[in-house]
Symmetry: D2
Subunit: 178 residues, 4 copies
Amino acid sequence: MILAETTPIMLIYVLTTGGTIEKVYSERTGEVANLESKIDRYLKLLRLPDSEIRVVPLMNIDSLKMTDTDRDAILAEVKRLLPEKAPILITHGTDTMVETGLYVHRGLPNPAVPIVLTGAKAPLGFEGSDALQNLTESLMALRLLAPGIYIVSHNQVFPISNVRKDKALGRFVRITSG
Amino acid sequence: MILAETTPIMLIYVLTTGGTIEKVYSERTGEVANLESKIDRYLKLLRLPDSEIRVVPLMNIDSLKMTDTDRDAILAEVKRLLPEKAPILITHGTDTMVETGLYVHRGLPNPAVPIVLTGAKAPLGFEGSDALQNLTESLMALRLLAPGIYIVSHNQVFPISNVRKDKALGRFVRITSG
Amino acid sequence: MILAETTPIMLIYVLTTGGTIEKVYSERTGEVANLESKIDRYLKLLRLPDSEIRVVPLMNIDSLKMTDTDRDAILAEVKRLLPEKAPILITHGTDTMVETGLYVHRGLPNPAVPIVLTGAKAPLGFEGSDALQNLTESLMALRLLAPGIYIVSHNQVFPISNVRKDKALGRFVRITSG
Amino acid sequence: MILAETTPIMLIYVLTTGGTIEKVYSERTGEVANLESKIDRYLKLLRLPDSEIRVVPLMNIDSLKMTDTDRDAILAEVKRLLPEKAPILITHGTDTMVETGLYVHRGLPNPAVPIVLTGAKAPLGFEGSDALQNLTESLMALRLLAPGIYIVSHNQVFPISNVRKDKALGRFVRITSG
């Protein structure tokens, strides 16, 4: 006998910090830069009937320019949101994503929710971009992962202690620390 | 000290059975139907450097026309692939996806790998389609789910015993059986 | 010496009548039909800084169902707009586009503006669609054509007296009448 | 009586010189630059059953870097092709498109075919790009224009002697010389 039908809404926070994923092409300068947040436009392309996404724009910078002051701001925002017991997605440039993940990890060794960092090799809306794929994967991973800090990208999930960016390959690879 | 760097390739099977997700628009008839498999073209849009996707086209039919003979064929193929210990994605029409999932579940109450069924409300490549989202989510879910049979759609994961399609809402909802 | 700089705005009317170009996929029925006008959404994708496009939705039907009463309505609207001396685009199903063009031609043998009929083999927003191409071409052709009635499609311009639809080829071909 | 049915194939040359229209995003450097020709991939998105497009890649540079040596090369190629009596499209950066058009005009005051220059504000394949629109418009305009040299962009046709780029507006405007 079917006793009940309930599909609870899951609250998910998306903290945006910039990086390639949110870069835009400027017709005025011909350059690609972090000029305005555009993640909202792309989240609207996804069907998320049982999820409530709250986007929190923290900063919009190339991750090569990110300082520890910026990482403090990210950590502080994560801590501020933790009492809500909602999973957290952090969009971030890939160049220093591991550093930021480890920084948050040091400040929060045992978070009570899954925290995923993701980014992209090509900006949202550019031909052949991986950005919407990574966003979609990350939102799914947040539903399934145990509490902890991870990088999600290209159909892979890396615990933050087991990942580094391979600059030559241009993507994340698994490492085993001893 | 970093002792090793390895990102093992994961083998994933994709069994295609048709359904809306693979329907195409026929310029000759003006109708939308299961005429040819097109999932390969769309999987190529995803970056899957650490995954080896093997697509197995089983049938290409509207799931309202699916018979138990068809479901037997799906179950037989799943059983045939199980020794490879690779997760399995089954693309399928949403109308009878739950029936097929339960059918496979009866034949395989305790599969050794995660088996995900997914589909779409609008075909791959149609404006506003949810098809690529569902494919992307399913491939991620297969990385993280415990062995068992599930439906993945719209940022949701439903164990096959806890889901039904709500025809009025036009989507899957969670049920609790007693 | 540069004496003046002026780029006058050109008024262009777009009469929509339905046809494949404006068909939408219904997630409820799984069919493709003329359910709602969607040309506005796609015109917004074009940059038309010196054009003022006024869309006039006349009807939204498959052109195989178009009757002479419908064609009278189209002709009447064209006549009503003629005093504005603005070129006119008519979007229309391809199956009876020639008939409608000839009908307007009989009612208006010598229009004072160019009148272009266009349509599509696949609806706006469907993968591989020719619809936005045909719209873009038609708006350009209206800038350059002499007064008269034409079909524009697939980088071709056909005077209405020199065109028929080749059902086997599925496209328009030039004819020479004697 | 219908005497004949013929739709002759039109030969059209496309000379590519670079400019924003063909810029690509480099995942390695994060910059947008003229690294490889990509117009072929986008021309394939258009239906051109009665046109034979021959792409001639001449150079692939930002038009701000174009020298008179480059313009000589463009003019020489145009002259070389003229005996084929085929219309010619030149894709080009917008910044110095007028200069190149005037240069070709001085070398060929009365060409026997229409010659169109076009480009884009955002590269082919970038979100919101005008590049495919401009290509589509230009190919149509070449069908209809009288012999001469023109810039085609954003549903506008400018004879080369009556156009300049308005840097502030970021687009072409009509001028009247006296």
